[in-house]
Amino acid sequence: MSILPSAHLLRNPEDRRSFIEKCAKVSFGLSVLPFFTRIAEAAEAPGAVTAPNAGLPGFGKAKRVIFLQLNGGMSHIDTFDPKTGASKGPGSIVSAKGDMQLTSYLPQTAKISDKITVIRSMTAKVGVHASAAYLMRTGFEQRGTLQHPTIGAWAQHFLGASHKTLPSSVTVNRSSNHGNGWFPAAYSPLPILNPADGLLDTKSPVGEATVAKRTGLLAELDSSFGGKATDESVKSYNEFYESTFQLMKSTDLKAFDLAAESAETKARYGKSKFGQGCLLARRLVENGVRFVEVAIGGWDMHAGLDDRLTDVGGDFDRVYATLIQDLESKGLLDTTLVVVASEFGRKPSFEGGGRGHHPLVFSTVLAGGGVKRGFVFGASDEKGYAPKENGVSPGSLHATIAHAAGLPVQTDIITPAGRPMQVGNKAAPQTGVFA
């Protein structure tokens, strides 16, 4: 059943503090921190929740998730679902490892395709960029009055914080865009807009004594407005300030620093924002961040598809293959689920040097975290126009990721507005993709 009511019970700061203190002592052997939000999250972890999907294959294998979102809409026909005949694009068809066919735009991916599962039967109705990106990112269609959370926030709700000082979710190359949904603002992913910079401004330019005096005075002077806040958005800023104070004291900040990587590793990932973003994602999950999104634009190929797939697609191909190999060599691939999601596919008809938006069928790629290696799930029809078998909705994709991450799917939680909601919007996970 729902977990949120327990959080509601903890709304009263006194109750919350004493509850947390108890939990903290019992479960972590820690004394309570001055900023207890994160521990509070851990304390909310269900433990007793029985996931109806717990006995199914693949449950809980993925301890962490890297979610790559290719903005603009990747053409399935020109990448992971090549077609012959009238739909064929400018690339040629290549037989890749793991008994699957890819296009010639993905030569590096072809070398590691024995480690991935391609879902060729994704299907949706939304063909507008922002709404489709939203749907793929959350598993829900966009609504005017409600913001849906990303998997990272769902996971934090069910499993608690993934680390005591580092954030549980991070977005790279994109802002957080309400990734917490209806969950507390503290579940909002931490945005890193430029991976090469990492997390900026973590050190105060003034001495420790002054910092202490300043923050002491700040707490005192802010007590009348911030301290008494009834407004949710004011409260959320209180939480961000608390998290920031805590993070600044942490030695785990090095997780954000790409400079600590070897020159050889940096060279393999390359200098592009996507390359740097994926390297940062690997560092972060390695250090205890549970959910990292990396966004990369440039996939809206209405025209000049051949050039742009060579350029944008070529970069993706190199970086993606590097990420999978790197995770494998570090022994992390089996416990890290890497998802390649886009917005929608592109039309079978090749017009004006490119293709239009096409949500009816498209491809998504999974790797690691207990999914099958060298496997194709589902299929599109001969033209690449509609799903032929095993249609997978974005909601079902999210249920699948949630299942791999060990979250209860098809289980109601109640939002603060009193609505019942389920991760993956009531869809069932595709257990057929798991080994």
Partner: protein, 713 residues
């Protein structure tokens, strides 16, 4: 009495009829219905008269002459605009004494073209009455009136886009004039800060971006928009000018709006429908709308109004490429920019080329057939309105016909859309939400209020300044703020404005004014001038002409030449921000250009303070957010902005140092950051810490980091 009730019923009946029935709305749980009440209609608002621009030949003290129209006078600064749309902003003292007097006279003449105080009062009272009726019927009431301190901060942020300085704050707070609120409203909406603030708001709505497509610079569009705002252009004219703009981007900045989507014309149409009509047809681009009545055919018929329009002159593009290929000495980057600036242009052809898509699957049209342009309607009566009588026979006129229908007061949604958006700007929430889907007018929290605001918008002849004057003078706006409501549970009925985090631009501009004072209000950077140097003479694509353009451009960018009329921004080019400025010379500290957000790159770079605080990427309309994050806090505490706040050169700190007593110092900083005086408790705590080793710069840092600074109440 009876007559009034009859009117009201009639009125309600009409508005219900005017709505599109949405079938099978998927959202499971609907917000609880608002109790409907019968409300007498609002008093009519006399429409504004036609305004004539005041043209004049201005003479400065050195005897130089300039023919220009009067745009505004605020403080020591005057704004003029010449016939080519160039804006001039300078100190009034530079004009001859005679013309300085003439300018003061112009202010009076312009005011007489505005709503009179009596009309403002009556239209504002109707807002209060309409809100009050709905509140009472739902057993709620208006929040208590906002204090002078709350009102002061709110009106500065809403109308001027920044907090007041300590001096401005104490001037208002210490005044005993009974009409001081109305006076302050007028002072602010006629100040240059108003234009900057409106630009920020519109930039998010109109997707104002420095570059579109593959790096095509669109500074001329920004300069055009600023100039039109400064010249008080009403919304309907502004929109019409953008939709019907012809010519090259380098010559006519107004083309920038349509050219943004030149390579994706269908997306462009769906974007402009959302922006100007609050109609979400994006779904119908690919298939019949699942929730509303829009069919894919409706979308294509609307898009066909742009089917004869061409945004890119491919022939010129290849001619330039060809010419340049013959000479290896032409720098490639410069040649590419010149190519872009000359190929992107708006032109109407003799043929409407849009056809139904190859995969069209409905019976109401055939795939591949040409589309006949046709306008959408929201209710049965709409099509009999005179503006629906458009000429669709002449392809080259289609765009103009569309603009005429779009921007007419008769259009069933154009005035309501902008009225609802302006209301949201003041209150934090639209009367109809979401603001980008107002097909169903009965979804409004009060359809009568929506109707009244629409009426005021039309009476104001789409002058957004006038409409905002009305709203700001209402008791509803001047009530204290409500906490963020849960719209999933019930509609918000406007007990007052909402508590809101300041927008990214408001936080930035407030920090700028605390750093350099009102000086920043008069730093106008502009960046489009040099782009004009790239224009090739019409019909002449020769290697020699391209080389000439490269030379002109080089000169303009290297700073060797003075950009036409403007002054070179020292340090500006080093930061890559500007190639000219009007008014005062910009200052930079800690590698930041200390200019208002409207004068900085649009949008700012991804790691700039503005973006981190939620300035949108401008790829879609309404892309700004006010989400919090840890990096924001880090930047405010430790980053260059934190350093800027705690810097001894800070205007707020220097103002505080002028105070004669320690209490005076603390009070001055409180006024600078929070627009209020400290409480006794706060005064004691702050004074104690100042004795205990903290400096005024530290206190500035503390106040900037309070939640109170980030929020408007």
């Amino acid at each position: 009495m009876r007559l009034i009730a009859l009117f009201a019923c009639l009125f309600l009946g009409l508005s219900a009829q005017g709505a599109v029935k949405k079938e099978g709305k998927k959202d499971a749980k609907k917000a609880e219905p608002v109790i409907k009440v019968v409300t007498p209609p609002a008093a009519p608002v006399a429409a504004l008269g036609e305004r004539a621009a005041i043209w004049h030949e201005w003479t400065d003290k050195e005897g130089q002459k300039l023919e220009a129209r009067f745009c505004g006078l605020a403080g020591e600064y005057i704004t003029l605009q010449s016939r080519d749309g160039r804006t001039f902003h300078f100190k009034l003292e530079m004009l001859s004494a005679e013309d300085a007097d003439f300018a003061k006279n112009c202010v009076e003449r312009n005011r007489t073209n505005s709503f009179s105080p009596a009309i403002i009062a009556s239209a504002a009272a109707d807002i209060d009455r309409l809100v009050g009726v709905v509140l009472t019927a739902n057993k709620q009431s208006l929040n208590a009136p906002a204090t002078d301190e709350q009102f002061l901060r709110r009106i500065y942020l809403d109308a001027a886009g920044r907090v007041p300085t300590a001096k401005e704050a104490s001037a208002f707070l210490s005044s005993n004039a009974p009409d001081k609120r109305a006076k302050l409203i007028d002072e602010l909406v006629f100040s240059p800060s108003y234009t900057m603030q409106m630009f920020n708001w519109m930039a998010d709505l109109l997707r104002v971006k420095d570059t579109f497509a593959k790096g095509v610079p669109a500074f001329t569009f920004e300069d055009w928009l600023k100039a039109r705002l400064a010249a008080d252009t009403p919304w309907d004219k502004l929109v019409s000018e953008m939709i019907t703009a012809d010519g090259r981007l380098c010559d006519n900045g107004a083309t920038g709006f349509m050219l943004f989507d030149a390579e994706m014309p269908l997306d462009g149409v769906s974007n402009l429908m959302t922006t100007f009509l609050g109609t979400n047809m994006a779904c119908a681009q690919c298939h019949d709308h699942p929730l509303a009545e829009w069919k894919q055919r409706d979308f294509y018929q609307m898009a066909a109004f742009f089917g004869a329009t061409d945004g890119k002159d491919e022939a010129i593009g290849s001619a330039i490429k060809k010419a340049v290929r013959a000479d290896a000495t032409v720098p490639k980057a410069a040649a590419l920019k010149i190519e872009q600036m000359n190929t992107f242009r708006m032109e109407d052809t003799d043929k409407q080329k849009l056809t139904f898509p190859k995969d069209y699957k409905y019976k109401d049209a055939k795939a591949g057939d040409p589309v006949t342009p046709s306008l959408i309607a929201w209710s049965k009566g709409d099509k009999s309105l005179p503006i629906y009588n458009v000429n669709t026979k002449t392809p080259s006129q289609l765009r103009d016909e569309f603009a005429r229908w779009l921007t007419s007061p008769q259009n069933p949604r154009f005035a309501t859309n902008i009225a609802n958006r302006i209301w949201k700007k003041a209150f934090g929430l639209g009367v109809i939400e979401p603001v980008n889907d107002i097909d169903d007018l009965t979804e409004a929290s009060s359809p009568e209020l929506m109707a009244h605001l629409t009426f005021v918008m039309k009476a104001a002849k789409f002058d957004l300044r006038e409409v905002q004057r009305v709203i700001y003078n209402s008791k509803t706006y001047q009530a204290s703020a409500s906490a963020t409501p849960d719209l999933g549970k019930a509609k918000y009925l406007f007990n007052g404005p909402l508590v809101r985090r300041l927008s990214a631009e408001q936080v930035w501009d407030s920090l700028i004014v605390t750093a350099v004072g009102t000086y920043a209000d008069n730093v106008l950077l502009r960046r489009g001038d040099d782009l004009k140097a790239m224009a090739l003479p019409a019909g002449k694509v020769t290697l020699a002409e391209v080389k000439n353009a490269v030379e002109r451009t080089k000169k303009a960018f290297s700073g060797g030449g003075k950009a036409a009329g403007g002054k070179k921004a020292a340090g500006g080019s080093a930061l890559g921000l500007a190639n000219g400025y009007d008014g005062d010379k910009p200052i930079s500290r800690f590698s930041m250009m200390l200019a208002r957000a409207s004068e900085l790159p649009q949008p700012s770079s991804e790691t700039h303070f503005l973006r981190l605080w939620g300035q949108g990427d401008r790829l879609l309309a309404d892309s700004a957010t006010n989400d919090g994050s840890v990096p924001q806090v880090l930047q405010m505490m430790n980053g260059s902005v934190g350093k800027l706040v705690a810097d001894v050169r800070s205007a707020a700190v220097m103002d505080a140092m002028k105070a004669k007593t320690p209490d005076g110092e603390v009070t001055s900083l409180y006024l600078s950051y929070l627009s209020r005086k400290p409480t006794n408790k706060e005064l004691i705590a702050a004074s104690k810490s100042l004795k205990d080793g903290l400096a005024l710069t530290d206190l500035a840092w503390v106040l900037a980091n309070t939640r109170e600074f980030l929020f408007v109440q």
